[in-house]
């Protein structure tokens, strides 16, 4: 046991004697967590009630009618966008200079056409290939839909009335339409039902849409710890090429002791890194890591074992330091991305979700979300932890089978 600890400690000391290790161990994971968390915020978090963080959209009202004003009023209630009134030239300048998500023009005659029960167009200019564009477009369509519904109801009401008795003149017809339109708007303001979202009592949800930092912290933890632990491959290749493994074996040390010490040292590094990222996530980014410390600990340990075992296996495949380094980066980044560490798996196609169940990163992310978001305890994450331990056993068995000391 003492030899195992000595070998493990020696590896850790050598690794951290290079100050650059700290950059990958701690600095970059924290930077990435912050940037990804901020980047995902708009996709995840409900708008802060104390700050208007909706997308500003210049609106040019060339119609200047009661209906166009009503439409802008509806837009101002949007949770996604904030209409800002401009003249046409100024609006175009602001849209281009500030790279805004849209520029809306309500053309002259908009209200008149709607009141006549005719289709009325809105001109929306948006940047191409921009993630904000769809949300802003939908918000404008939703507000337009409310006006459209009221106008259609009023139009139908006019038609029904006309079947019973023709209108005296166009003015009477228009007045009837206007009356129906206002009544419809009032009735539409009183929906017969609302949808109320509830969740399990264990759920750790801050907002309806969850927290971007929860996704970012768990995802970045999986990515960077994977780089550290799959990096065991570089350790083994370095030792093999440098002949240090061979030299260790001429001392009275068993092969199993050497291997356990090497793997144990790397695993310990990964566990310490996870602990630091959990603490920083909680204290700096306000990540809620769940209700059950034992469940979180089991998940992290199981993930650590699977990842370091994978590193051991990769170490037997890579022949040179360059190969080990390249494979470590590729396996870590692609594996993390595939497994849901960079984006939530639920937004991917069903076939993709099924295919990535073959990866340990998928089970690590699923288990971590069960702990962090669903607030599950030990019994809730046993299946994921069990599967990760299965991966660990498989990778380790293959790694040891292929392992060569020289």
């Amino acid at each position: 046991m003492r030899k195992i600890l000595a070998i493990a400690w020696n590896d850790i000391v050598i690794e951290f004697s290079d100050r650059a290790t700290l950059i990958f161990f701690l600095v970059l994971p924290v930077i990435f967590t912050a940037v990804v968390g901020v980047g995902l915020r708009s996709a995840y978090t409900a708008p802060d009630p104390n700050a208007d963080n909706r997308y500003p959209v210049p609106v040019v009202d060339e119609d200047r009618s009661a209906l166009s004003a009503q439409f802008v009023e509806l837009l101002s209630n949007s949770a996604v966008m904030r209409p800002v009134a401009y003249e046409r030239e100024e609006a175009a300048r602001v849209y281009e200079e500030d790279n805004l998500a849209g520029l809306l023009v309500i053309p002259s005659g908009f209200g008149e056409r709607l009141l006549a029960g005719e289709a009325a167009d809105l001109a929306l200019r948006q940047p191409s290939n921009d993630t904000r564009a769809l949300a802003v477009g939908e918000a404008i369509s939703a507000a337009g839909s409310r006006l459209s519904t009221a106008a259609l109801i009023a139009q139908s009401s006019v038609a029904e009335a006309e079947r019973l008795r023709p209108f005296a003149d166009a003015a009477a017809r228009a007045a009837y339409f206007q009356q129906g339109y206002q009544m419809a708007l009032e009735f539409l303001e009183q929906p017969p039902a609302t949808v109320e979202v509830t969740r399990s009592a264990q759920a750790q949800v801050v907002t309806d849409l969850g927290s971007s930092m929860d996704q970012a912290s768990a995802g970045q933890l999986v990515t960077w710890v994977l780089i550290t632990l799959v990096g065991a491959a570089e350790l083994f290749v370095n030792e093999r090429l440098g002949g240090t493994l061979r030299r260790l074996l001429v001392t009275p040390t068993r092969k199993a002791t050497v291997l356990t010490g090497k793997i144990g040292g790397r695993l310990a590094m990964g566990l310490v890194q996870m602990l630091l990222l959990v603490v920083i996530g909680a204290t700096v980014f306000g990540v809620n890591w769940g209700r059950s410390v034992p469940a979180l600990a089991i998940m992290l340990l199981a993930f650590g074992l699977a990842a370091v075992a994978l590193g051991t296996l990769v170490g037997t495949i890579a022949k040179t330091r360059g190969q080990a380094s390249g494979l470590t980066t590729m396996i870590s980044m692609v594996g993390a991305a595939l497994g849901g560490a960079w984006w939530p798996l639920e937004i991917t196609p069903p076939a993709y979700q099924t295919a990535v169940k073959a990866l340990p990163t998928t089970w690590a992310m699923t288990g971590l979300k069960d702990v962090i978001v669903a607030g599950q305890g030990v019994s809730g994450i046993l299946p994921e932890a069990g599967i990760l331990l299965g991966f660990a056993a498989l990778f380790l068995a293959l790694g040891i089978w292929r392992f060569r000391y020289e």
Partner: protein, 420 residues
């Protein structure tokens, strides 16, 4: 010049002969682009977003609207989006959500239909609407699938909107006819429900307000993940390549091949020029291979070839400048390796190689303009949208400016080292 070209060619060939380098330069960025393409449905003609969302519904409402909600959820039109299981027990539906078998459970109360059309309304009695509070449809959401639960919520709310439109239609039509004494109240009241259905269906399928795309977004309302991620990953891994290229200068020094080269009739400037050109050509070859592979194999549209080529040449020049700068100010290859990798990843994170650039806060977007990644991403985005050389003139100028500054700073440091 021939010596410079010889050194550059040797470095280019060496880079592509090393499997580990090829994995980093070509395999990883291509694999990540491929993964993102699959993840966001770019290969099935589909759009990014959830599909096949498992959900359950428990309908306690024996009336018309509860049944219609169930039928709407099970309709063919939503078959790709939702996989619906109808249950009769609230606890079982909640258990399915807790077991992660379902993204959400919709629980319809017994009085839903009564809330839409209160008793007596079809006989003209509107007193049931006076001060009536809306009933609550419960959506028991799976916290680990917030996006999917949000989709189910949107679908349920859209159904309520249609029901509300139908009710409003009946009330307006009948109310106006009766209020304007166009017909007998009793006779009209009985027609209210039929009118409501007819008008409601029309309202649900028609919109008088049309949103027309004016320019930039015409024909491109959905975000093209592949179009964004292919250049994004290529740029990210270009930075790894150029920082590794700069590192070879230090490696040659440590291995003694650099002093040996200098004992031949080859000047220091020629050696350095060859190394710089070698790094530049390696980066350029990497970008061209990724450009061709993603265009031919993944169908990515990068833009018109001429401006794409101009942008690629500028981007690789700026990247090479950064690679040389890192090498010039590093004392050891280990230091150059660590700083190069850290800087490449940080540049990638700041500029939007990992998260779509549009989503980043303005302060980060502006700060990231010190990176080649940001200018490259902005340029390729403009070109993919049909931009011309004029549209990428600013990114190209900025990248060449960046190349000039970084090269100048690197040369100062290399000269200082040579003097020592």
């Amino acid at each position: 010049m021939r010596k410079i070209l010889n050194i550059a060619w040797k470095d280019l060939i060496s880079a592509f002969r090393e499997p580990g380098v090829v994995i980093m330069m070509l395999v990883t960025p291509f694999a990540l682009t491929l993964v993102m393409g699959f993840a966001f449905g770019a290969f099935g003609g589909g759009n990014a977003g959830p599909a096949g969302i498992p959900m359950t519904i428990v309908n306690h409402d024996a009336g018309e609207f509860g049944q219609r909600l169930v039928r709407m959820l099970e309709a063919d039109g939503l078959a790709d989006l939702l996989v619906v299981t109808v249950l009769s027990d609230d606890a079982a539906a909640r258990a399915a959500v807790d077991a992660d078998q379902s993204a959400a459970a919709v629980i319809v109360p017994a009085d839903f239909s009564e809330a839409v059309v209160p008793a007596g309304l079809s006989q003209g009695d509107t007193s049931g609407l006076q001060g009536a509070q809306p009933v609550t449809i419960e959506l028991y959401a799976n916290p680990t699938r917030p996006v999917s639960a949000g989709v189910v919520r949107t679908v349920a709310e859209r159904f309520i909107d249609v029901a509300s439109a139908q009710r409003s239609a009946g009330l307006v039509v009948v109310g106006q006819i009766v209020g304007n004494r166009l017909a007998d109240p009793q006779a009209m009241a009985q027609q209210g429900a039929a009118i409501g259905h007819r008008v409601g269906d029309q309202v649900a399928s028609t919109s008088l307000v049309r949103v027309v795309g004016e320019s930039d977004a015409a024909g491109q309302s959905n975000f093209d993940w592949l179009g964004y991620m292919a250049p994004s990953m290529a740029i990210l891994f270009l930075m790894f390549t150029v920082s590794a290229g700069g590192r070879t200068i230090l490696l040659e020094r440590d291995l003694g091949t650099l002093p040996r080269m200098l004992t031949t009739p080859t000047g220091a400037a020629q050696v350095l020029g060859g190394k710089v050109l070698g790094t530049y050509l390696t980066g350029l070859a990497q970008m061209i291979i990724l450009f061709v592979a993603s265009t031919l194999l993944l169908g990515v549209h990068w833009g018109a070839p001429a401006p794409v080529a101009a942008l690629l040449l500028s981007l690789v020049a700026a990247g090479t400048g950064w690679g040389m700068l890192i090498a010039a100010y590093s004392k050891t290859t280990g230091q150059a390796n660590a700083v190069g990798t850290a800087l490449s990843l940080t540049f990638g994170a700041l500029a939007g190689n990992f998260v779509v650039r549009d989503l980043l806060p303005d302060v980060l977007k502006k700060a990231s303009l010190i990176t080649p990644n940001a200018w490259g991403l902005d340029g390729f985005k403009a070109l993919a949208a049909g931009g011309t050389l004029a549209d990428v003139a600013l990114p190209i100028a900025a990248l060449w400016g960046m190349a000039a500054i970084t090269f100048a700073l690197a040369v100062v440091a290399f000269r200082r080292q040579a003097a020592q």
